[in-house]
């Protein structure tokens, strides 16, 4: 490890000392549901154009953390947070910053696929663009194809674009939801256990897709599946009881974690 002053801060934040672009710069972040504290003093720098996995036992605050990154947690009444969260330099909770604008830059894919059942496959992909007021047929068509290609779904649906989104299989529906998120061209994609309801084959497809996404997007993925984290992420963050216990290169976290709790979790001794 080099010890130049520029890198001293990354070391301090518990990060590998590499010069890289930061997507989320989060300092001393705590979050409460009413009186109950769900996250405590989390400080982390999530790199851009990389896949970061969030792991930890159930209830440790993974979803809570993820949902704070695009302000989805504001839909839950009674939440309160402290600390500083920046996304590519922009203060997510700064005065005058609108959650609606943040969510267009930070997309989200959920545990259960949730296409809009009254819309066709094409309409599902394009609904976000329509919200943004895009009317140009050519733009819509090209974005439709591009998004479905990115989501590795194009070949399977190109002939049935007018079928309802819900007519697809579970794995296809989840990829449709990914395409829907990508269509509005976010910088970052958050995924909350996107494969937990899918069979191994569909899971493999999505993991493969995540690999291609990192070329253009920052991906933060919550998973309870440690093999998945090991397979498809560059960085891994281990949360336990609302705290960030360890964050580092995925290989290091799984082979030589520095914290005994991380060690215990990744070796399957609890959680």
């Amino acid at each position: 490890m080099k010890a130049s002053p520029a890198q001293a801060r990354t070391v301090e934040a518990g990060l590998p000392a590499e010069a890289e672009e930061v997507a989320f710069d989060i300092k001393n972040f705590s979050l409460w549901y009413g009186q109950r504290q769900a996250l405590q003093d989390v400080t982390i720098r999530i790199p851009a154009k990389k896949v970061t996995a969030i792991i930890g036992p159930s209830g440790c605050g993974k979803s809570t953390f993820l949902r704070a990154l695009n302000r989805m947690h504001e839909l839950t009444p009674g939440t309160r947070l402290e600390g500083s969260l920046r996304h590519f330099g922009e203060d997510l909770y700064g005065p005058g910053v609108e959650a609606v604008a943040i969510r267009r830059r930070v997309g989200m894919v959920f545990q259960k696929s949730n296409p809009f059942p009254t819309m066709s496959i094409a309409e599902n992909v394009l609904v976000g663009l329509r919200l943004n007021g895009v009317r140009d047929k050519r733009v819509l068509q090209s974005r439709l194809e591009e998004s479905l290609h990115m989501a590795a779904l194009w070949d399977e649906v190109k002939d049935v674009l007018n079928r309802p989104g819900t007519s697809l299989s579970g794995g296809q529906q989840q990829r449709l939801c990914i395409a829907r998120s990508l269509a509005v061209q976010p910088e970052t994609l958050l995924m909350d256990e996107p494969c937990s309801a899918l069979d191994p084959l569909a899971t493999a497809k999505i993991e493969e897709l995540i690999q291609t996404l990192r070329e253009r997007y920052t991906v933060v993925i919550v998973t309870h599946n440690m093999q998945q984290a090991a397979r498809c992420s560059d960085r891994t963050a281990f949360f336990y009881l609302g705290r960030l216990i360890e964050f580092g290169n995925t290989r290091n976290i799984f082979t030589s974690p520095s914290n005994p709790q991380t060690e215990a979790y990744v070796s399957g001794r609890f959680g």
């Binding site: 839909l75 959920f110 809009f116 059942p117 009254t118 976000g128 919200l131 509005v184």
Partner: protein, 310 residues
């Protein structure tokens, strides 16, 4: 796997349920038969012409149902046009927008509205609503929308429009509470999908909530219509009870349900009584037809939101 021995009660329950379902069908058929039997004199005398004759003259014993069919359909339609948007909007407000503390009081108020007896609405109609309509709303409508035939002619107060408004108030609770159930059944995940795309609250309502719920909301409207068609007491008190067909909503009218309720005790001749029976038969048929048509429309509507009619 059911435990051994639980099959007996299972089978018994199945038979009880089937019996109950069969009883409902039998009851409907019996009511239909009874109405038909009571109206056979009028059917023999007037034939199908009963349906499109607009004469109603108990003295000359000439009877036709058209003004009543017209009155029932028009007053119910007015009621739906008012109650469905209002009820759905209220339900949206209650499920999606209102602060948690405000919800329960509003829900209780709406439920209380449902508990008010029909005749009380009638009295309120006569003493409060009608004078206000006559002196304010109708005058205003006539001044600004008077170029439409709907809002022309003399203003009496007792009118088709007054009946429509009273019915709207009376079906509002059921339309609202069913709409609320429908909206509550929209999965949160649908809303979150829209929010995650950067949708505003209104956009979420449009793309995630209303489109998911539209079939169910249509069902709520049909149930409201079912109520509206049969509404009797309050309507009789405010509609003016004149068997006529007029383009003006300010004109008095009459409905199938009110003429039966109003004139049955005065129906001294067999033919008069039989004609009223046939009016009842027509009301019965209209209600069944409306429901059947709604079911067909519901089937043809695309989308896979929850279907909840009846």
């Amino acid at each position: 796997m059911p435990a051994p021995g639980s099959r007996g009660p299972d089978i018994a329950f199945k038979w009880v349920a089937m019996f109950a379902a069969a009883m409902i069908v039998v009851l409907i058929v019996m009511v239909g038969w009874e109405l038909y039997y009571g109206s056979r004199l009028a059917i023999a005398k007037f034939g199908a012409g009963f349906l499109w004759s607009s004469e109603w003259d108990p003295v000359l014993e000439r009877f036709g149902a058209l003004p009543f069919i017209f009155g029932t359909l028009v007053s119910s339609l007015i009621a739906l046009l008012i109650a469905v948007p209002l009820g759905v909007a209220t339900a949206l407000f209650l499920t999606e927008l209102a602060p948690l503390k405000m919800r329960q009081p509003i829900i209780i108020a709406i439920e209380m509205l449902a508990a008010v007896p029909s005749v009380i609405f009638g009295l309120w109609g006569i003493f409060v609503l009608i004078p206000w309509l006559r002196d304010s709303l109708f005058v205003w409508l006539k001044r600004f929308l008077g170029f439409l035939p709907l809002f022309q002619g003399p203003i009496y107060g007792l009118s088709m429009l007054a009946a429509g408004i009273i019915i709207a108030i009376m079906i509002l609770p059921i339309v609202t509470s069913i709409s609320r159930e429908i909206l509550r059944s929209v999965p949160n995940l649908q809303r979150e999908a829209a929010y995650a795309l950067g949708a505003t609250r209104w956009e979420v309502l449009k793309i995630a909530v209303l489109s998911y719920a539209r079939r169910g909301l249509f069902g709520a409207a049909v149930l409201g219509l079912g109520r509206a068609l049969g509404e009797t007491m309050a309507v009789t008190m405010v509609i003016g009870n004149r068997p006529q067909i007029s383009a003006s909503l300010f004109a008095p009218g009459y409905t199938l349900a009110s003429v039966v309720a109003n004139e049955f005790t005065e129906a001294t001749t067999d033919l008069y009584q039989s004609a009223l029976f046939e009016i009842g038969l027509v009301l019965f048929a209209v209600a069944i037809l409306v429901n059947a048509a709604a079911q067909v429309m519901l089937k043809s509507m695309s989308g896979s939101g929850p279907v909840k009619v009846n």
